[in-house]
């Protein structure tokens, strides 16, 4: 089982005067952050500040590109062609790399956001468009994706470095996919800690039907818009370390 794991969260999704999440506190705990790139959330000023904050905290930077649907926060299905999806990713990841260059920080990974992520689970052409975008970016970033979903497998078959992702605070369906929630309710920290340690150490999670399914991964996803977010990451991290699991970013795990 995994002896090493990355702790990731989304961030940089504030916009203009609007604040979302708690990047400052989350960054003191996670090892990787997926930063909004201005389409579903984030703006150039937020991106600059978030990259600077990541550097300051030694957190590895990834891109979190989404659909151009600010009102819907990229969480509504939009009928795009694979080529349009590729363009949206190249544009947004490129924009983020502008700030990475400014702070001399490498771009570690790409994790598509919202429906640009979810629609790809069942749409192979879309998944391919996304992966072609990742292949195009130089140097090629790691693809962060839910373990064993179709895009995960497709990335493996294309030789793209892919990091399986565990979800700390979402429920799993029997097929291994997660239920995306629009709002994150009260989280039971102890239950979350136990669930995550089991996922990482035993490679198993109890799905919504009560049966255990196999999960593999290199990173645990936490949500920063939960007020208890930083506390949860901290508790999980300490429990993992006690169980002998090393906490390290994806770059460190891939040796890049």
């Amino acid at each position: 089982m995994a002896k090493e794991v990355d702790l990731n969260c989304d961030g940089g999704e504030s916009f203009g005067i609007y604040k979302l999440g708690n990047d400052e506190a989350m960054m003191t705990q996670v090892t990787s952050i997926s930063i909004g790139c201005g389409f579903h959330g984030g703006d150039p000023h937020v991106m600059r500040k978030t990259v600077a904050l990541a550097k300051q905290n030694g957190v590895a930077v990834g891109a979190h590109p989404g659909f151009p649907d600010p009102i819907g926060f990229g969480r509504r299905k939009l009928e795009v062609t694979p080529e349009e999806a590729k363009d949206y990713i190249l544009y947004q990841v490129g924009a983020l790399k502008g700030f990475c260059e400014a702070y001399d920080v490498p771009l570690q990974h790409v994790k598509p956001h919202g429906q640009l992520y979810n629609m790809a689970w069942t749409d192979e052409k879309l998944a391919k468009g996304i992966l072609e975008a990742i292949r195009t970016i130089k140097p090629e970033p790691i693809f962060l994706a839910l373990y064993n979903t179709m895009p995960y497998q497709l990335a493996e078959s294309m030789g793209i470095r892919v990091a399986g992702e565990f979800y700390a605070d979402l429920d799993y369906a029997p097929d291994g996919t997660t239920f995306i929630k629009r709002t994150h309710g009260e989280v039971d920290i102890n239950a979350t800690v136990k669930k995550v340690v089991k996922m990482v150490v035993e490679g198993k999670v109890t799905a919504s039907d009560g049966k255990d399914i196999e999960v593999r991964g290199k990173s645990i996803c936490f949500h920063g818009d939960n007020p208890k977010g930083p506390e949860i990451v901290k508790a999980v991290k300490e429990a993992l370390q006690k169980s002998g699991v090393k906490i390290s970013s994806l770059s460190q795990q891939f040796g890049s």
Copy 2:
């Protein structure tokens, strides 16, 4: 006087279903193109197609970042801080570089658009913000700017490679700045050819007060939204070549 000159135009400023300019025809004539990056004009799909078209025509690619004012096409003054201007340039240039990487085309230059260009002529802090953005981009692109304006001089003093720009189809004020027109009227091709050859070969242009002023430059700016645009570039190019002037991109001139 200049024995070598680049021919540039703006392009990639179409948006979605909306078509602007005549990139296909202009690209057969110019040696450099400044591509819209999605804020004042352009979108990710247009950017991809425009970079592809530039590559196909052997035209050097530059970025043409503007203000986030699509209704005003970036031609209205917007009160931004130097840091905000820097962020807008890093974001947009980065986004364009995403497509440059996809087509393995280097980013030759940056030319700010509309009021992000004009406001900087008289606002040293803003000019500095723009130049700091250019300095941040790796590898550092050439700055394309009107000869002897304050940002031009500031770039020189900062050791940034700056290419002076002649305007083929705009009138010059006695101080060497040009009058930006919102629409481009009927152009007298013969007069334009004579004017440009004089600028390039003699280094002089007749200003609006009838007196000659000195101009220097490495590039001539043409406007693609003029229906006669391609014809004008062609006529100017032929006349320059007859006068012994070599037509070469900025990269070639700077030996980069």
Copy 3:
């Protein structure tokens, strides 16, 4: 069969510096115009000018609200709830009415644009959201819709005044729906004239399978982004008048 018919086209879909269609020429021919409201096309300045132009030409004004997807021109499916669709219509129609009030012009009708129109053909909840929006607007405008589609029938059952629409330049499927084209190719004017006269006078159109289907309507839809648009409307209008059909706006037909 119909002895009276309205001639409509879309308009006011230019945006900022970008020009779309040929409103000036189309307005000299049509009796009703459906004006973009700023989400898929149009902006506040374009809306003002288009309403002014309609008034000047005695053309009745309708709203043409679409999805908030400017890059896709509202022609991509977006997963909205019926309530979101209703909100988009109330917002956009209200905005247009701001300019109608300024020019003392009544709002005659509402015709949803692009996928906000097409998705409703097969989604009854969405259709209901759209019609509830129309019901909410005061005074209640006419709903302009393709004859016998589900939203057309639903509007009738709700007691909303609905005007069936013929398409002059689109092909009909055997079920009476039309094939939306993203670009409009070469149009055979004579064939169009014959087709429209047959639709209006005989109430029949030949579908793509070669069989005649029944069509009813109060308005013929023309496309202004076709360069021959104004010529086509003129030819159709003259042929209809020769066949004894009266050309009158929807307001005149409904006696409102």
Copy 4:
């Protein structure tokens, strides 16, 4: 001195997933609300919910139109023509009226937001454009403006009903204008109560130079983005009522 006063705040400035201010709590205290219309803040869904909330709380509804600058929240100067400003107001106020119609709530007033408000204090042509927009809206709403600023006086001279506005939590310059703050710091509730009672009952406020200046008004402006906002309004309201001042909306004061 004023024996009657309205209590207003801005609201409906949330956007998509982003929450701003505390409309629910503020609406239990104020008598009028100025609702964002989607350009600087707010979106169609937020507008619908805010109008519904206002109706439920018996709070009078006004429009709060701003510049199309979401990143800058309408607080950056934008070089618009008076006609462009007029168009932005007609569009946004019309859009809000779409929701007012849906909930059968009259539009009481218009208060321009951010720099669309502030730029007009010193730009008579812009002020005129704004007031011509207000004059165009039917029925004509009340103009809510800082007492004795140029647009206030211009409105009076044009016969537009204008309600002078006191600021509870901003400091006054000796010329009667206020200092707009981008963020609202800690507020001393007792001092605010004393200041407001003095403004309303005595018609005087101590300016930043320590001298009292004359102020008149029909409404007190509170800021909902201050966490103590609802508490402040409540304290001010009780103190005013104890001083014999009646709390009533602008519509009630103007008898409309």
